[in-house]
Amino acid sequence: MSILGDGGGISLPMGDDVQMVEVTLTITDAAAERLRAVLSEEVGDDLVLIISTLSGGCSGHLYDMQVAERPDDSGFQHLDVEGIPISVHNRDSWRLNGIEVNYLDTLMGGGFKIENPNADRGCGCGKSFG
């Protein structure tokens, strides 16, 4: 039972008011090689790399990358970059347009790194942007 009782309250739009752009992004050779390896290790049909943003982190937004089956949600844009299938949701399109995905093979501070021309700021640990 809702605190609002029957039919009280006004539904608020959540993430519907999006500024959509057609996404282009680049992947460095090192990142492409690593992503191909990651995709080949996963089991499933029609796997893609979903790159998205989450609110939070010191600077306001965090990057999120996951391998999943190609989403059938019409809100996604599907790209092929260096042979890597990538999906980006329209909600994230303006924040992620123009990014470069890199991969650093180092013991400390290694892993995937994203250079984002839309970010005005980043936090000390480098995991969030705003």
């Binding site: 809702s2 605190i3 609002l4 009782g5 009280g8 309250g9 006004i10 539904s11 608020l12 739009p13 959540m14 993430g15 519907d16 008011d17 998205s52 943003t53 989450l54 609110s55 939070g56 982190g57 010191c58 600077s59 306001g60 965090l62 999120d64 949600d73 809100g75 949701h89 909600r91 994230d92 700021r121 936090c123 000390g124 640990c125 995991k127 969030s128 705003g130």
Partner: protein, 311 residues
């Protein structure tokens, strides 16, 4: 000042404080990511305060979060509802399962204050709740307000259709309606914050003594770096204090012998005279705490006091 003020507790309707209901599997996680307090371990009937801040650590809203089991009720500070809702809408990712309802019309927020308020609430709920929120009948809930726990102060939330019934019940127990003057007297004397006065986009939660609304070990949240730095350095640029004044103090930034002072609220209190809330440099407190300001009608002598003012 008025001897006409009714005795006994007063109720105030807080219509300008936003009421928003969140639901969905990721509602807590969303708030965890974008607000300052640790809400992850909350369980049904818990109430916790948390701050919505920007990436520079500045206050956007102070929220009281009521965990209702399958829903969260967020109650914001005055006139900050649009800011809160814009941030919520922007913060939801494509994979978040979160729904939000604007409950400003559907729910009524009353604050009950004054000697005897505890007895009134106790009468409704049987036993005085020590923390969290309590149900008062089918469509009414109560909890201690968003400010530090103190005696004789309660927030009551009811469905709009129950408003008249709740007010009639309060009246039967000797609770009267308070006017804006009475509200400001209670609020300023208790050091309670108001949206647009103390809670605005220039101030950092720790400067408002909202330490219990910030978690320093829950992990990253927006604005965390700024707060963590202030906490580790143990230094605040300014801090919220009470002032007793010889006359009506001017609002806003004042340049005084105690340094820069920002007077955020003031009221002529029936017992305490002119009192105010102000942000001052910590060094101002270390001195004698006295300074003067230029008011509309001449010089105003002010003295720094601990909050809350003595009851």
């Amino acid at each position: 000042m008025g001897d006409s003020r009714p005795t006994g507790p007063l109720w105030f309707e807080r219509a300008s404080c936003s009421r928003t209901v969140l639901s969905g599997a990721d509602a807590v996680d969303l708030l965890q990511r974008i607000t300052t307090n640790d809400l992850e371990e909350m369980s049904a009937t818990d109430v916790r305060n948390t701050c919505l801040i920007d990436a520079n650590g500045r206050m956007l809203d102070l929220l009281s979060v009521w965990h209702l089991g399958t829903e969260l009720l967020l109650m914001g500070s005055e006139n900050q509802g649009e800011v809160l809702r814009a941030h919520l809408a922007d913060a939801v990712s494509w994979k978040d399962d979160v729904q939000a309802m604007d409950a400003d019309e559907a729910l009524v927020l009353l604050t009950l204050v004054g000697e005897g308020a505890d007895d009134v609430v106790c009468h409704f709920v049987g036993e005085l709740p020590e923390s969290g929120h309590w149900r008062m009948g089918d469509a009414c809930w109560c909890a201690q307000p968003m400010h530090d726990g103190e005696a004789d102060a309660w927030d009551i939330v009811c469905q709009a259709g129950s408003r008249e019934g709740v007010l009639a019940l309060l009246a039967r127990h000797g609770v009267s309606e308070g006017d804006e003057q009475a509200w400001q007297e209670e609020r300023v004397a208790r050091g309670w914050l108001e949206g647009g006065r103390e809670v605005d986009g220039t101030v950092i939660p720790l400067e408002l003594d909202l330490w219990d609304s910030v978690s320093f070990d829950k992990g990253c949240f927006t604005g965390q770096e700024i707060l963590a730095r202030m906490e580790s350095r143990g230094k605040l640029a300014r801090t919220l204090v009470g002032l007793t004044c010889s006359a009506e103090p001017p609002l806003g930034r004042q340049h005084t012998e105690a340094g820069s002072v920002v007077v955020t609220s003031s009221v002529e209190h029936s017992r305490l005279g002119w009192i105010a809330l102000a942000l001052v440099r910590p060094s101002s407190i270390e001195g004698d705490g006295k300074f003067s300001m230029q008011g509309d009608a001449g010089q105003v002598e002010a003295e720094i006091r601990d909050l809350p003012f003595p009851g």
